[in-house]
């Protein structure tokens, strides 16, 4: 059984903050298929399309028939431990600082033999199931878990090292006015967050959840306007050094494409909040967060963006809003690259229409605040980078993966008019 993780003591400001180190990043291009699957939390291996042989380690040609037609497919991850070791010394600083480190050889029931991390609850020669996750280098690693759940499993140091678990962490939610904020705060609090900061713009202007948020224990409402650089800088000056997870749920949304709107006013607001707001937050909070990724139990771990799934391919009914989200998605990719050397993870949670005023005319299914909250907490616990919340987002993503050009054709039909 894993030892339950204790809340960290107050930080001694005179002590040096531990510099972030990383596990090895170098991988072959074939291996990046495993990392892409890890970003979504899927266990996938290459399968030969000609002879069906399952391959590992990732390669460029089938080890059974030499075919070069290999495809990544979700694969059964159950197997048995053949051998194990505890690494007590390593030439790599990241592991040296975290030793002892338990690894093992697992024979999957479907064939391949895999060297992987072993969760502390795995028994000698026991049955296990592998999970595929990103480590702090941003690359896939496989971790064996016992097939039955044990108490405090999530607190295992080797598992926690690859997740963004909210437990004992301090979290900033950027927009109190978003109808999903109360649900997010509740879910994070239930997941063991130590403290939740909520940013509130234009405090003089009331909003439905204002009183509820003000009265929640463990929640601090603080002034923050993501369209105002000095407001963002001021809050970062106050709490930037103790923000372990930042959740940017600020969004400006209006319906309409280019021609439905007479001017660029809404588009400018959309860019101010959805694109430049993200940039301002990143410029103010990013540097401190990425310098604190090895800062003990409550080290900085994740940056979360809530994006429209139509960032992938435009939905003309919300054409300009989709465009601002496409810009934000692209910026998040840049941010992911810029944070990568520190191990700070960028998680994008893509949603379809959300249950709120601006999506009122759209038919169901829509994303309820508690659904978004549940998805987000699960994504943090799993340490994911890409999540699709709700049926519409999953549907659009599946079509996007299948063929982005077909998705564009089917999203932009004019309809059978006169």
């Amino acid at each position: 059984m894993s030892k339950p993780l204790q809340a960290p003591p107050k930080k001694n400001p005179q002590k040096r903050t531990v510099s972030p180190t990383r596990p090895p990043e170098s991988r072959s291009r074939a291996s990046l298929g495993l990392s892409a699957a890890a970003a979504e939390g899927r266990f996938a291996l290459q399968h030969c399309t000609e002879c069906s042989a399952i391959q590992y380690p990732p390669r460029d040609a089938c080890c059974a028939c030499l075919s070069t037609a290999l495809r990544w497919l979700n694969t059964d991850a159950k197997g048995s431990i053949l051998a194990e070791t505890t690494v007590r010394t390593s030439t790599k600083l990241y592991f040296r600082e975290r030793s002892p480190w338990r690894t093992g050889t697992v024979k999957l029931d479907c064939g391949p033999v895999i060297i992987c991390h072993l969760h502390g609850d795995c028994e000698q020669q026991g049955r296990v199931e592998l999970i595929n996750r990103l480590d702090r280098s941003g690359q896939a690693v496989l971790l064996a878990l016992p097939q039955t759940r044990k108490p405090n499993m999530e607190d295992d140091p080797q598992l926690r090292a690859i997740t963004s678990d909210p437990k004992h962490r301090r979290i900033l939610i950027t927009d109190a006015r978003n109808p999903n904020t109360v649900a997010l705060a509740n879910a994070l609090s239930n997941a063991g967050a130590a403290l939740i900061f909520v940013g509130e713009s234009e405090s003089w202007r009331p909003y439905p959840a204002q009183a509820e948020l003000a009265n929640m224990t463990g929640v601090e409402v603080l002034p923050l306007d993501v369209t105002d650089t000095s407001s963002v800088d001021k809050l970062a000056g106050e709490i930037g050094g103790k923000t372990d997870i930042l959740i940017n749920n600020a969004r400006f949304i209006r319906p309409g494409g280019v021609l439905e709107r007479g001017d660029t006013t809404f588009a400018r607001n959309e860019m101010e909040v959805n694109y430049l707001g993200l940039m301002r937050l990143a410029q103010a909070f990013g540097p401190a967060m990425r310098s604190r990724t090895a800062d003990g139990v409550n080290a900085a771990v994740a940056w979360v963006n809530v994006l429209s799934v139509h960032a992938l391919s435009n939905l003309p009914a919300f054409g300009c809003f989709s465009a601002s989200n496409a810009a934000a998605r692209s910026l998040a990719q840049s941010l992911r690259a810029e944070f990568r050397s520190s191990g700070l993870r960028v998680m994008n949670v893509y949603v379809g229409p959300t249950e709120d005023d601006w999506h009122q005319p759209l038919p169901p299914p829509k994303v309820l605040p508690q659904n978004l909250a549940r998805t987000m907490v699960q994504g943090l616990r799993d340490g994911l980078e890409e999540m699709y919340c709700g049926d519409v987002a999953k549907d659009v993503y599946e079509r996007f993966r299948d063929n982005p050009n077909v998705l564009e054709r089917e999203s932009t039909l004019a309809g059978e008019g006169a």
């Binding site: 072959s28 380690p57 053949l82 070791t85 690494v87 007590r88 790599k92 992987c116 991390h117």
Partner: protein, 390 residues
């Protein structure tokens, strides 16, 4: 399958080992030049008389055997680069022997050498192989220690070998190394020292691991007639084998590629295990030596632990093994680790081993093992050599 040809009229001579150093400010080129010169001087040859060369090295980058020809001013008509780590000594020998036998070259030098700077071991690890970078280093970055710890763990479970069994082999090799002035390890090792050593990657502890160091090894291959004319003591080749990526269906490595070809090797050499005067195994970790003792036919599979309990593996013992101390006690000089056993065996059967000399050594077996590409050693090789008559 066609039967293998003998190595009649081809001999091994002029064995040379440059004394190893823990760290060196010199390059692989320097170490290789030292060993090559050592062999040539023994044979009273000028560099220009050499017309064949094989090179094995991990730290020669960006050069290969090609760059070395110009660097060292050689003009071979036959050249090979053999990047097979611990298997490269025997592989170089069998390649060179065929070249000489067929007249593609008259005198081939087989050389291996590597330097060891502070931090060069870590750097070499990071670029060792694609599968290792993709699928073994991200898991604790224990390097070969962690890989062999997994194999050792499984071997112990499967065959009931104990740490004491591995310890016996290590202690005997240290005893041998104390007779080898070129060895890096100079202090005696007791079984108790071995058992109480700092754990590295369970079940592997400090004295299961080789010490990375700088060093080089070399020998010459030529026609028997040439050796006689020059008055050189030599060894003849009774048989050799190599095999790569054998038993890939085994989920974890408990046997090596030797098992595929070993019967043919004994047949070629017209002898049997009890005829062998000394054995040089590739000993990057003791479990691999035990595996070789089994797979080469000195005992049944899984019985090597009992075998080392019942035999004295020192120079004076009933089963002399890794007489110069092997890599475990002399040090692992990169690719030269694939030559240490072979070069020592040539010295032994030509009776020039000096302080490590086994009495009346005439027939020696050498085996090589190399390249943990992902989860197991991929290359294996073995040879039997015999004292030649001058």
């Amino acid at each position: 399958m066609a039967s293998r040809q003998s190595y009649d009229n081809v001999v091994l001579t002029a064995p040379y080992s440059t004394p190893y150093q823990r760290y060196s400010i010199n390059t692989a080129h320097w170490w290789i030049a030292k060993a090559l010169r050592g062999s040539l001087q023994q044979a009273k040859l000028e560099p220009k008389e050499l017309d064949g060369l094989t090179v094995s090295s991990f730290t020669l980058f960006p050069d290969s055997a090609v760059g070395l020809t110009q660097h060292l001013g050689l003009m071979p008509r036959w050249l090979d680069h053999i990047p097979m780590g611990g298997a490269s000594g025997v592989v170089a020998m069998r390649r060179a022997a065929r070249a000489v036998q067929c007249g593609d070259a008259d005198i081939v030098a087989c050389v291996a050498g590597d330097t060891n700077h502070i931090d060069s071991f870590r750097q070499m690890l990071s670029s060792f192989s694609r599968f290792a970078a993709d699928a073994s280093y991200p898991y604790g970055y224990g390097g070969p220690n962690a890989n062999f710890a997994l194999l050792t763990d499984r071997y112990m479970q499967e065959y009931g070998a104990t740490r004491e069994d591995f310890g016996r082999l290590c202690v005997a090799q240290r005893h041998n190394a104390l007779n080898n002035p070129g060895a890096v390890m100079k202090k005696p090792l007791s079984l108790d020292d071995y058992l109480t050593a700092r754990p590295i990657s369970d079940p592997i502890a400090l004295f299961d691991c080789v010490m990375p160091c700088a060093g080089s090894e070399s020998f010459l291959v030529m026609r028997e007639q040439t050796a006689k004319e020059r008055g050189l003591a030599y060894a003849t080749i009774c048989g050799t084998i190599e095999r790569h990526n054998a038993h890939s269906e085994d989920p974890i490595q408990l046997r090596g590629g030797w098992t595929v070809d070993i019967d043919e090797l004994w047949q070629m050499a017209s002898c049997q295990p009890s005829d062998i005067d000394l054995l040089q195994t590739y000993d990057d970790y003791p479990v691999i030596s035990l595996m070789q003792i089994e797979d080469l036919g000195f005992c049944d599979k899984g019985a090597a632990a009992e075998f080392v309990r019942n035999h004295d593996l020192t120079i004076q013992g009933d089963f002399p093994h890794n007489t110069s101390g092997g890599q475990l006690s002399a040090g692992q000089a990169g690719a030269a680790g694939g030559f240490i056993g072979l070069v020592e065996a040539i010295r032994q059967v030509t009776n020039v081993a000096g302080p490590t000399q086994v009495k009346n050594a005439a027939l020696a077996m050498i085996s090589g093992f190399g390249m943990i590409n992902y989860d197991r050693g991929v290359c294996s090789s073995a040879a039997i050599i015999r004292a030649g008559s001058l």
